[in-house]
């Protein structure tokens, strides 16, 4: 089986003055045909650098990679015909209208909106009422949909989306991921990056990235299952004080706030619920504790601390 994307030991560093900054350290991963693959990690993880290398906009210092079976250095022209790329920063022409931007990108690829309307329709029809408006005057959400339409206009086989949901509210994010599922159903392989850990669970597989390294690659279920220790959710009346007190306990390995609960790991994984209860109940008047399944964010933090 050929994969949509194959990355083998890719490294990249940047030099600025006397300082050398390593953006990517021997990254290896592969994305299957038709897969929705996520690069999950905070700012500075190296996600954008990897996108730029794979879309042939920048050379790696070392390592190899292919996209849709083509070598990213030797076959860059072939790759540019077949990939769609939506950068993290809005990069369309602000002085052209919505329709003009789309027509421009269609012409570059020797195609037309009409030819590919079925593919872009679910996205484009949401901005079609504003097709005469200049792109620079669109709201953030509309810009994002126009950029995605432009990235799809030539029916790419592989789609690169760099942080499409950063700064986007929870409702619009949900809708955007539904659109991605639709594109996947149309046979497009997708590499998408995000700093939001909860979005990892919407991918087929994810690579967890931090400071230029891949900390782990797996399905969302696999990543959760790799969290080795029993995890507990606790809740009390005074959450801030509760956390400080938990962290003072010898038996507590880690305690992190997670919304309405704190997630706690104990050093001794074989402690019974009875023993744990006895220890934590006195800490707060209104203490609740239960064993829970870890989230992707729990796993990410555990990997960061290794």
């Amino acid at each position: 089986m050929t994969s949509a994307i194959q990355v083998d030991q890719v490294s990249k560093s940047f030099v600025s003055g006397k300082e050398k900054f390593t953006a990517l350290k021997e990254i290896t991963l592969s994305v299957g045909k038709g897969e929705l693959f996520g690069l999950v990690g905070p700012d500075g993880a190296g996600k954008t650098t990897l996108f730029r290398i794979l879309t042939t906009l920048m050379y790696a210092d070392s390592g190899f990679a292919t996209v849709d079976g083509f070598d990213i250095v030797r076959d860059f022209k072939e790759i540019r015909k077949r990939v769609g790329y939506m950068p993290g920063k809005f990069s369309l022409y602000p002085d052209l209208s919505v329709a003009e931007n789309l027509a421009f990108f269609a012409t570059l690829f020797d195609t037309s909106l009409r030819e590919n309307y079925d593919l872009v329709k679910p996205i484009y029809q949401q901005i079609e009422p504003f097709e005469k408006r200049k792109a620079g005057a669109l709201s953030g959400g509309m810009k994002q949909k126009l950029a995605l339409s432009c990235a799809l206009i030539h029916r790419p086989s592989v789609l690169f989306l760099d942080e499409p949901t950063t700064g986007v509210d929870a409702v619009s994010r949900k809708e955007f991921w539904e659109l991605l599922r639709g594109l996947q159903d149309a046979g497009i392989s997708i590499l998408v990056s995000t700093p939001y850990m909860d979005e990892a669970s919407l991918c087929d597989r994810v690579a967890l990235m931090q400071e230029g390294r891949v900390m782990g690659i797996n399905t969302p279920e696999g990543i959760r299952a790799n969290f080795a220790m029993p995890l507990y959710a606790v809740r009390g009346k005074n959450m801030y004080r509760l956390m400080q007190q938990l962290l003072k306990l010898e038996a507590v390995e880690s305690c992190h706030p997670f919304g309405q609960h704190h997630h706690v790991v104990f050093r001794n994984s074989s402690m019974s619920m009875e023993e744990i209860r006895k220890m934590v109940i006195p800490l707060d008047d209104d203490m609740e504790i239960s064993r829970i399944e870890p989230t992707i964010e729990d796993s990410f933090m555990a990997l960061m601390n290794q």
């Binding site: 959400g141 700064g167 919304g259």
Partner: protein, 248 residues
Amino acid sequence: MTGEIVISARDLTKRFGDFTAVKAITFDVMRGEIFGFLGANGAGKTTAMRMLCGLSLPTSGTAQIAGFDLATGSERIKQNIGYMSQKFSLYDDLTITENIRFYGGIYGLTDKEIKDKTRQMLGTLHLEDQAKTITKALPLGWKQKVAFSVAMLHQPRIVFLDEPTGGVDPVTRREFWTMIYEAANSGTTVFVTTHYMDEAEYCDRVSIMVDGSIEALDTPLKLKEQFESSSMENVFIQLARKATRSNA
């Protein structure tokens, strides 16, 4: 938290032409409270925040911020609040020490105060070795922690944080919230926006804006009861889906 009110908005409204960005919002925020200010993109949060910071005058309505009236005291308001956002906080081309000195100067601190604060801040953040580092070279999470400390330099009564943790790694994001708790415990009011719904749970009270109006305002616990939801994310989604303003 004490019963002292530090932000009091009454029917605060902002119109741009025939578009009403903020529609008669009314609410109070207490001293030492962590107040979450949520809303979908385009709901009017930024416009409302600009008014509360004294950067934009309301079309109608009134507000008292840190003891001063918005209509007559916007300069005094600016001296008594701190502000940081994800998009702009520190000057990238200055070192950390230079940023602290610059903002200290703006807020009228004496040279000695600036010197003391700088030493104290670098110590608390464990950045003594990075004092001369160009800000640009710091990881985003550290930068945001420095930016928050700088926004607190002049011991403001209220600090406004506009998406302070966007793109920050999960560990640093939590450390950042520890700093928020500490600020609130020492009496500073924290007014914060975020797209992370778990962070909404950390607030004492949360307001949710829809199409320019505040549609809900209460403690996270009460909001979840009111909307029969298990999480703030569900509360938010129920309310934001009602939006009719075009943000397609």
